[in-house]
């Protein structure tokens, strides 16, 4: 099981702040995970409508879409940051 956490408009479109999921074997990278999530329902499809826009972090470190998800405890998806 891995914990998924969502922030800002990704959280709103997913309709939840976090969830625990069992990843299928087909999900190897962050990009695979985004594609798999997008196929679940309308909200998720909207959240990942432009997958290249959504950023990700594994265990609180920024990662690229090509990063493997194996061994991750917590994976976050969020829009480009707008702090400061």
């Amino acid at each position: 099981m891995v914990k998924l956490v969502y922030f800002a408009w990704v959280r709103e479109r997913m309709g939840m702040a976090e969830e625990m999921v069992e990843l299928p074997a087909s999900v190897v990278t962050i990009a695979d995970l985004a594609l798999w999530l997008a196929g679940r329902d309308e909200g998720a499809a909207l959240a990942f409508a432009n997958p290249e826009v959504v950023r990700a972090a594994i265990d609180k470190h920024h990662v690229s879409p090509q990063t493997p998800v194996k061994g991750a405890r917590e994976i976050a998806f969020f829009p480009p940051m707008t702090g400061g």
Partner: protein, 163 residues
């Protein structure tokens, strides 16, 4: 020889006081020659904003700010660094973010403060949502391409010499 680097990283709902934060970083030290600070405020351009809601990723926000400070300390001979970012509802005119850098000389302090702000904007996990004066919830603030460009220029820039 340079003394230890004093650092303070804060992610908080409460406002901060610039003078207090500078005092925390410089108190009792006689080797600091320059202190530069940047304060970011909540801005209302069109008179329609009631507040900004700052969402953050607890844990990663602090970690990422620390990593950005680590990088600044590697690039410039800093003696003290303070970074504070607020979250929650912030009204126009209120403070949002603070960067304080201290060094023996001004160039390192100026450059490091600018670097820290550019990197915080593109790497620290914070997001702004607008709340409008008419009571409606506005949109999420969109990331700006010029912020990415501002951060990227440091990749190419020659860092101030530590010599």
């Amino acid at each position: 020889m340079a003394g230890p680097v004093t650092r303070h990283i804060g992610v908080q709902a409460a406002p901060f006081d610039l003078a207090v934060e500078v005092e925390k970083l410089t108190k009792g030290r006689t080797d600091i020659g320059a202190v530069v600070s940047f304060t970011g405020l909540c801005r209302d351009e069109a008179g329609q904003l009631s507040a900004l809601e700052l969402e953050h990723y607890p844990g990663m926000a602090e970690d990422e700010m620390a990593r950005v400070v680590d990088e600044a300390e590697q690039r410039w001979p800093l003696q003290a660094v303070g970074v504070i970012h607020r979250f929650g509802l912030i009204r126009p005119g209120e403070v949002i973010v603070l960067v304080v850098t201290a060094s023996a000389h001004r160039v390192a302090a100026f450059e490091a403060a600018s670097f820290l702000m550019d990197y915080l904007k593109t790497r620290a996990p914070f997001w702004k949502k607008e709340h409008l004066a008419d009571g409606s919830s506005g949109s999420w603030v969109e990331a700006k391409a010029h912020d990415d460009l501002a951060a990227e220029r440091w990749s190419a820039a020659q860092a101030f010499s530590k010599g």
